[in-house]
């Protein structure tokens, strides 16, 4: 990815436009912008120029607006310039919008892919305005899983001129023969918020669909729109496919200032107070919210959002009706209401999760509060950028730490932000589950030629290294259910006929369309009022622990469980505060490697006695205690602490590499120590370190001598620990769903459909036992290694550790660094309500020891 890309920076309009029509079309759109009192920015002109030249590319900017218009007006102008009878300044009035007739309008010209269907509605409004006012004979429509079936049928017969959709819906569209051929007239594909899509399987799905569209029209151009990330070049090449070598990267400058501050508790306790979700800071947060018009409160998990919503409301009951909660498990209607009210300026604050990371900007939002670790520099920037979208506004971020050490994270993030060191988003490679799904989709829409499709698939970034053997396996999988040597009688999804593959069975096509849209998620149950109103979805595992009459917190309300029946949780409103908090088992984000590095640097400064900025100064006493009991690790030190408590023998290791790396590392070192003699560990990890707990004294010294942290034989050893572990089983869940093993069943299919449902866990066991060579199993393992445990990052971490000085200390009690990990372990063991009490007791106990220690050293 070292290739130099021609720069289309702001003023490189050196090459002249070739035709009069092109000049006229560009003038038309820029006049329209001026009419709206929005003078085109140089970056917008750069995009238009590149699009006129028939080039694909990527447009990125750290925050700010104008990206949508840049790409959209460019596409319109390009189309206009190619018309026999273009739209001119005279024919468009710039006012009195006129909608085009569906059937007389242009065929499909622009495809706008968006990562969230929630974004589609707003995007549509934004795109509609210029089209209507310029009097283009275009229709702009969206198609998501929420669209009505009448509209969907209309679209199947004739696509709109511009279609806004998600990768799943596009994939489904390609399964219809009629629609498939219509895409030949497509000119531009826009990949909105590409940074969100590209590092996920849905991004790969988009890549595959794009390869198909390019096959239908080789002159198709692709524009990706992205926030700023570390690897914009690679992001562009992923969008365009490795074969397009003429792509351009356009950078839009940030236009808003950003200010950041932290809520620093008046009294920093000696011990970081992890665990109760930072609720200690509620008064300070309420004060911050009160100070401005409207705020967004970002949390890292859905449970945390629920908890914070109720905590803020408890503090300020008068804000009832002026507050909202917003996360992915809530009913669409509720979320839309929150968005609408927020946009209208009627809400004081909205507590949300990453569900509001993306999307149109809410003009009234003046500040953003981040509860808990931001996890990454890009994420922090993105969230901060959600505020201050009014003229002359600036982005304001208030950081609310949930434990004292998180203050170090913010201080570190500030440093790197200044230096513009932002994380990469790494695109996925070679997911066979998706490929199998895609092959079935394509063969529903159009019988395909095997070698042609192979070439097409290889033209994507994700499958450029696909081997013939793997391809053969995928074909066999969709045709016979598995390897040709393995018998899968009575099975048939795709039929081969003279080298052409096709789905003949209408039922298979239908099943395929059903399963393409499945977003892997655990068994979820609808939550409904007894009177019928829907509230959202909750995981079965959580509900199964409750009994009728139990109260829980959901959608910002206290609810009482009445009964569960037919995958629905029936509830009533309840009063009172004591309530269980639902848990969603979504993956927890790891600290990014950039932010981890920044944190290590900050601690290094602390180790040398340097405390700059309010955050670092605030934690000085805590660091002093860490130094007294153990030591503060600098960049070149790996700290290991050995502590004996009532629970057993603890080993704490602090690599500061993020939780994914720690998960793998914990497994490996536990395994390595256990090789010396039989021993049982329970491991806990967080973003800072690892804890190994054992009932007997672990042979640490001996393990160190044998090379506890060597990267030699790493993958092999992870593999061995994974056999014992459950990681690939977990990963297999998503794969099984995508590859079509686990079926949701038809709507209304009722009970008989359940006979064909088995969970992915069951498939995993069956494959392991009866078809161990199944490539989907291998994929699960590979995904665990690469994305789950980040084995590449793990190897890098071990190499870094190899150059570190290793210090082993024996603090009298778990040190301040150890405390958050310790609490994490507790969280797994005990029920949520009593956690606060338990932590309080622990803190007290440790405080006593700290005081004793203090008085001993300073008599």
């Amino acid at each position: 990815m070292e290739r130099r890309t021609p720069s289309y920076e702001s003023n490189s309009n050196s090459k002249k436009y070739v035709s009069r029509k092109q000049i006229m079309s560009i003038k038309l759109v820029s006049d329209w912008m001026k009419e709206k009192e929005r003078k085109p920015f140089p970056f917008q002109r750069a995009v238009w120029k590149a699009m006129m030249d028939g080039k694909s590319g990527l447009l990125h900017s750290p925050t700010g607006t104008g990206k949508t218009l840049a790409v959209w007006l460019g596409a319109l102008a390009r189309w206009n310039a190619q018309e026999e009878d273009p739209v001119t300044r005279e024919t468009s009035t710039f006012s009195s919008p006129r909608r085009s007739n569906r059937n007389a309008a242009e065929p499909i010209r622009v495809l706008w892919l968006t990562p969230l269907r929630a974004l589609a509605a707003d995007t549509m409004l934004a795109l509609q305005e210029p089209t209507d006012q310029l009097k283009f004979p275009w229709t702009v429509e969206r198609r998501t899983s929420d669209s009505s079936s009448t509209l969907k049928t209309k679209q199947k017969n004739r696509l709109p001129s511009c279609l806004i959709t998600t990768p799943e819906s596009l994939s489904i569209l390609l399964t219809y023969r009629k629609t498939h051929s219509q895409f030949k007239s497509l000119q531009v594909v826009v990949l909105d918020e590409w940074h969100e899509l590209m590092a996920s399987k849905r991004g790969v799905q988009a890549e595959l669909c794009l390869a198909r569209l390019r096959q239908l029209n080789p002159h198709l151009i692709t524009w990706a729109v992205s926030a700023t990330i570390g690897n914009v070049e690679q992001a562009m090449q992923t969008a365009l496919g490795p074969r397009d070598q003429n792509g351009v990267v356009v950078k839009a400058p940030a236009r808003r200032k950003l200010s950041m501050r932290s809520v620093i508790p008046k009294k920093i306790e000696r011990f970081p107070w992890a665990g109760h979700m930072g609720l200690k800071s509620v008064p300070a947060v309420v004060e911050a919210i009160d100070a401005v018009g409207s705020s967004l409160v970002f949390t890292n998990t859905r449970s945390q959002a629920e908890k914070w919503y109720s905590a803020i409301l408890h503090e300020r009951p008068d804000w009832a009706g002026k507050m909202g909660v917003h996360h992915g498990s809530l009913e669409r209607k509720t979320r839309t209401w929150v968005e609408r009210e927020l946009d209208a300026g009627n809400l004081k604050c909205v507590v949300c999760t990453s569900s509001l990371d993306l999307g149109v900007d809410f003009f009234p939002v003046q500040q953003v509060l981040q509860i808990g670790s931001p996890k990454g520099i890009a994420r922090l920037m993105q969230r901060a950028g959600r505020s201050g979208h009014y003229p002359g506004g600036k982005s304001q971020l208030v950081f609310v730490p949930t434990h004292a050490l998180e203050l170090v994270e913010l201080a570190a993030a500030k440093d790197y932000l200044k230096q513009q060191r932002i994380e990469d988003r790494v695109p996925l490679m070679g997911c066979l589950d998706l490929l199998a799904q895609h092959v079935v989709s394509i063969s529903c829409g159009n019988p395909f030629d095997e070698s042609q499709l192979f070439k097409e698939v290889k033209s994507t970034h994700a499958y450029q290294d696909l081997s013939e053997t793997q391809w053969e396996w995928v074909l066999n999988f969709v045709r016979r259910g598995g390897d040709s040597l393995q018998a899968y009688p009575d099975f048939q999804r795709v039929v081969e006929n003279d080298g052409r593959y096709e789905v003949k069975d209408a039922r298979t096509s239908r099943m395929q369309r059903m399963s393409v849209g499945t977003i892997p998620s655990d068994n979820e149950m609808q939550v409904r009022y007894m009177k019928g109103g829907r509230l959202g979805k909750i995981e079965e595992r959580f509900i199964s622990r409750l009994k009728p009459g139990d109260k829980f917190l959901f959608a910002g309300r206290t609810l009482k469980l009445v009964m569960t029946r037919d995958m629905t949780v029936w509830v009533r409103r309840a009063k009172g505060q004591v309530a269980a908090l639902p848990r969603w088992y979504g993956g927890r984000m790891p600290l990014s490697s950039e932010l981890s590095e920044a944190v290590r640097e900050k601690l290094g400064e602390a180790a040398r006695g340097k405390f700059t900025g309010p955050e670092m100064r605030a934690i000085k006493p805590l660091m002093a205690l860490q130094a007294a009991w153990s030591l503060i690790p600098d960049e070149n030190t790996l700290l290991i602490e050995q502590v004996k408590t009532r629970d057993g023998f603890h080993i704490f290791v602090y690599p500061f590499e993020g939780r994914l790396v720690h998960e793998g590392l914990a497994a490996v070192i536990a395994w390595r120590i256990a090789q010396i003699r039989p021993i049982t560990f329970s491991t806990t990890i967080n973003d800072y370190g690892i804890e190994l707990l054992s009932p007997t004294v672990p042979p640490l010294k001996e393990a160190m001598e044998r090379g506890l942290f060597t990267s030699v034989d790493l993958v092999n050893q992870i593999d061995k620990c994974m056999n014992a572990g459950e990681l690939d089983r977990r990963q297999f869940r998503d794969i099984a769903k995508i590859a079509g093993l686990v079926q949701g069943g038809f709507p209304g299919a009722g009970k008989s459909a359940r006979q064909l449902q088995a969970s992915s866990d069951l498939f995993f066991d069956v494959f392991k036992e009866y078809d161990p060579e199944n490539l989907l199993l291998k994929q699960a393992r590979q995904e665990v290694l690469e994305y789950q445990l980040e084995s590449t990052r793990l190897a890098t971490a071990l190499d870094r550790i190899a150059n570190c000085r290793i210090e082993i200390t024996e603090p009298p009690k778990p040190s301040p660094l150890a405390f958050p990990i310790l609490v994490d372990r507790l969280r797994m063991k005990i029920s949520s309500e009593k956690l606060a009490d338990r932590i309080a007791r622990l803190t007290q106990q440790f405080e006593v020891t700290a005081k004793k220690h203090h008085s001993k050293s300073n008599p």
Partner: protein, 233 residues
Amino acid sequence: MDEPRGSGIPNETCNHQEISLADVTLHLRADGSLFIPQCSMLIVSDLHLGKDAAFRAAGIPVPTGINRDLLKQLTHSVETAECSHLIFLGDLIHNRNSLTPTVIDEMARWRKQHEDLKVTLVLGNHDRHVRKFPDSWKLETCPAYQVNALTLVHDPATGVNQKAAPFVCGHLHPAVQTGVAADRMKLRCFALYPDHLVVPAFGPFKGGMTLSTRKMTDCFAIAENQIWSVKQR
């Protein structure tokens, strides 16, 4: 529903726990079968024969070999128990697509190897898909079976509705969650209530429903040829 682990082929011997329900002595065996010594009767529940075939017929690729192993396990259980009467406690087959020629043939051959065995099927909800079972299987079918004061039914709901208690039933594929945090495991189990006993599903490729042990008198988890009580007192 998650699945319990440990449905592998058991070793040479078969561990068991002895309990008594309605004055009938019962051996809860670690392979998931139930033995009644006084009438030399072995009870297995929810075999779901041909479940894999039913999945394949619906376009979901499940490998073959599951039935073979299932019957192998059954042979092993029957032989180690040295029983003279075998009872299938319902759901012998999975659905109508399960009765493929291979499945019929495999079961018929198994039956032939165990000709002297008396075999009874207590009908379960899945069995309603079949009007008549193949003659070569030589089954007697009945909605419920009586052993002294003890009734054998498939569905616990039937047992309750018909006031059949004390009874032995299957249907639920019971499983229990044991261990804490990282050690958490889901295991198949025998669930003993004051007036009835729920038998686990026999053989591989079975889901399991986690039951709360709160109302149980006792709960016996099985895994890797072990059976032990996990009820916390």
